[in-house]
């Protein structure tokens, strides 16, 4: 298992150094992202648009299309990565990810229902599809949670199994809806593979509070996450209010993931993979790991989205397909290096 090894003073210094390096990488990636795209708008236009300047069509494309999309990619990547890190500690399982307790299947059901039934609902910055995806995602998590809470105790293994079972059942319903729908399912397919092609400032405003709150909660509870890795009994004996902490962590993870999925669809692999890479670079202590995961998740998803919108420009590829195709071999490589 890629958990913490021995932590020497030198290794510790190197690990703290990784954070500024990741931050710098993220900043450079963001700048590159603003200069890349299918429209004929390059880096100089991007810089001019950012520094004010005149408001030509190029500036509009950078400010109103590329910038929100770039910011959203970073935020969604960070949310999925933080949520994945929390879930892996929560379940003490390296296979855990943000979608484990039914968030993605619930969101998919909500989104597909909204698209197929042609609903029109709005709430604040939420338009129909994100709203429906968000509500259904949280609904399914609440159901899974409720089914596994008995006499004030939360059954972790039950959560896993119920999450998988309900997730499978909902996926089947989604497939049935798609097959029997009289409407076009192109939109649905793209959504199920994840995409940021609909990105706009409203979406940034939707996820921003969750990213902030999630990061804050994760940071406050970082030490508890470290202790949870030793098991509930040890954790409790070291002073962690285990049940309450678990509930808070699960709720935080579900909210972050639901917000991310609501605006981007189901982007696979980021939440599962990033925590492992982050642990490899930063070690397993959660205070550092969570910040590192957030940065890495942002970088990774941003580059995946840059590829999605430039590889076959002017058409776009589904983002989730790219994260999985690029991510899987990388994770396999990391595992083999960790073993040797």
């Amino acid at each position: 298992m890629p958990w913490e090894g021995s932590e020497g003073v030198k290794a510790d210094a190197r690990r703290w150094l990784a954070l500024p390096l990741l931050s710098a990488t993220l900043l450079i990636s963001v700048l590159l992202s603003l200069g890349l795209g299918s429209a004929d708008v390059g880096f100089t236009d991007a810089l001019r648009a950012l520094t004010g300047g005149e408001g030509g069509p190029e500036a509009g494309i950078v400010r109103d299309i590329r910038l929100p999309r770039t910011v959203l990619a970073v935020l969604v990547g960070a949310l999925l990565a933080i949520s994945g890190t929390i879930m892996q500690a929560f379940f003490r399982n390296v296979m855990a990810g943000p979608y484990l307790v039914g968030v993605s299947s619930g969101a998919a059901l909500g989104a597909v229902l909204a698209m197929i039934c042609g609903w029109e609902v709005r709430l604040g910055k939420f338009s129909t599809v994100p709203l429906s995806a968000f509500v259904f995602a949280l609904g399914v998590v609440a159901l899974v949670y409720g089914l596994n809470r008995r006499r004030g105790r939360l059954h972790t293994s039950g959560l896993l199994l119920t999450g998988i079972a309900i997730g499978s059942a909902i996926s089947a319903v989604v497939a049935l809806l798609m097959i029997t729908s009289e409407r076009s399912i192109h939109q649905v397919l793209f959504w199920l593979l994840g995409s940021l092609s609909a990105a706009r400032w409203d979406h940034v405003e939707i996820v921003l509070p969750y990213a902030g709150a999630g990061l804050l909660i994760a940071f406050v509870l970082a030490r508890d996450l470290d202790l949870l890795l030793w098991g509930d009994v040890t954790g409790a004996s070291l002073g962690v209010p285990v049940e309450r902490t678990r509930t808070v962590l699960l709720a935080a993870s579900a909210l972050m993931t639901a917000a991310a999925v609501a605006v981007s669809g189901v982007i696979g692999f980021v939440g599962l993979m990033v925590p492992h890479i982050a642990r490899f670079l930063l070690g397993a202590l959660h205070r550092r790991l969570l910040v590192g995961s957030a940065l890495l998740g942002g970088i990774l998803l941003l580059w995946a989205d840059i590829l999605a919108r430039t590889l076959r420009a002017p058409t776009e590829l589904p983002l989730g397909a790219i994260t999985a195709i690029v991510g899987a071999p990388f994770l396999v490589y990391l595992c083999s290096r960790a073993r040797s």
């Binding site: 299309i65 929100p68 009289e182 706009r200 409203d202 002017p314």
Partner: protein
């Protein structure tokens, strides 16, 4: 195909002036008397069959999506396009099943194995292909004359629209066809699609012409860069007004769209989904209306 079948076709051809047809996939259909019991596996085929003079006594099975012409709703349903029901079709004892792209290939093979004659049609390409498909259906159903007259009639309309477009002066309006609205992913019709042909013939410039294939997504920045002036779209059960309000709202709300000429002076042309999304004869009435709308009439 079995040797017996081949000999049968040969004999029939030599003796009785029977007709044999082979489709793009290699299915063979032979008859001495034009088919009397036809099953259609797609709404566009159903529309074409009625346009060339078939009625509910000849078209005995249709998909659950076949809603035009209205009498098509009274015909037995054989399931959907991707999920047709083998038993229902066999029970109808058809002497011809017309299939199209989108129907499962294994399903056509199952029909062939059960000795139900299947003929598959290519219907997804450009406007010319729609006309060729009408002629092809005319031939394989033994209604060549009616099909030829229908195609001539449609061609006349097409020529008139093209002449009208050519006579117009001034720059041609830039049209974006949104398959699924203005929110991403932005599916649209590229070169080689019949929608592209419709827009071009009606005197517009298709923004989707930049797309790499007939049906494709286009990134928003490419669309905004092209600066569309007209939005061409569809409405379904929600109705035209609701669809128009949604498009207007999306144009206003989305920072990307809001910079286009379309947002400054919205020209929104909507057609019922089944009229614009079916490669059949009704596309030519869509063309007529689109031409008038683009010409400002």
């Amino acid at each position: 195909m079995s040797l017996g079948g081949l000999i049968g076709i040969l004999l029939a051809t030599l003796l009785g002036g029977a007709s044999t047809f082979e489709d793009v996939m290699g299915h063979q259909v032979a008859w001495e008397r034009p088919p009397q019991r036809i099953v259609s596996l797609s709404p566009s085929i159903t529309e074409i069959l009625f346009a060339i003079g078939c009625d509910t006594t000849v078209v005995v099975g249709v998909t659950r999506f076949c809603n035009y012409p209205p009498e098509a709703r009274t015909i037995a349903r054989i399931g959907g396009i991707v999920d047709p029901n083998l038993e229902e079709i066999v029970a109808l004892e058809p002497d011809l099943v017309l299939a199209t792209r989108g129907n499962p290939i294994e399903f056509m093979e199952s029909l062939t194995r059960l000795k139900v004659p299947v003929y598959a049609l290519e219907t997804r390409e450009g406007l010319e292909q729609v006309l060729r498909t009408i002629e092809e259906i005319g031939a394989v159903t033994g209604r060549e004359g009616a099909a030829r007259r229908e195609v001539e009639h449609l061609r006349e309309g097409l020529a008139q629209v093209r002449a009208r477009s050519a006579a117009r002066t001034g720059p041609r309006p830039r049209v974006f066809y949104g398959y699924g609205g203005l929110e991403g992913p932005h599916w649209t019709a590229g070169p080689g699609s019949y929608v592209h042909d419709l827009i071009t013939a009606a005197g517009g410039v298709n923004v989707g012409g930049r797309a790499p294939s007939a049906w494709s997504t286009l990134s928003l920045e490419t669309i905004v860069e092209a600066d569309p002036q007209v939005y061409l779209g569809t409405f379904a059960s929600e109705g035209e007004e609701a669809a128009r309000r949604r498009v207007l709202r999306q144009l206003r709300e989305h920072e990307g769209w809001s910079q286009t000429a379309l947002a400054r002076n919205p020209r929104i042309i909507l057609f019922a989904e089944d009229r614009l999304q079916r490669p059949g004869p009704r596309l030519f009435s869509v063309l007529e209306e689109l031409s008038r709308a683009l010409g400002g009439e």
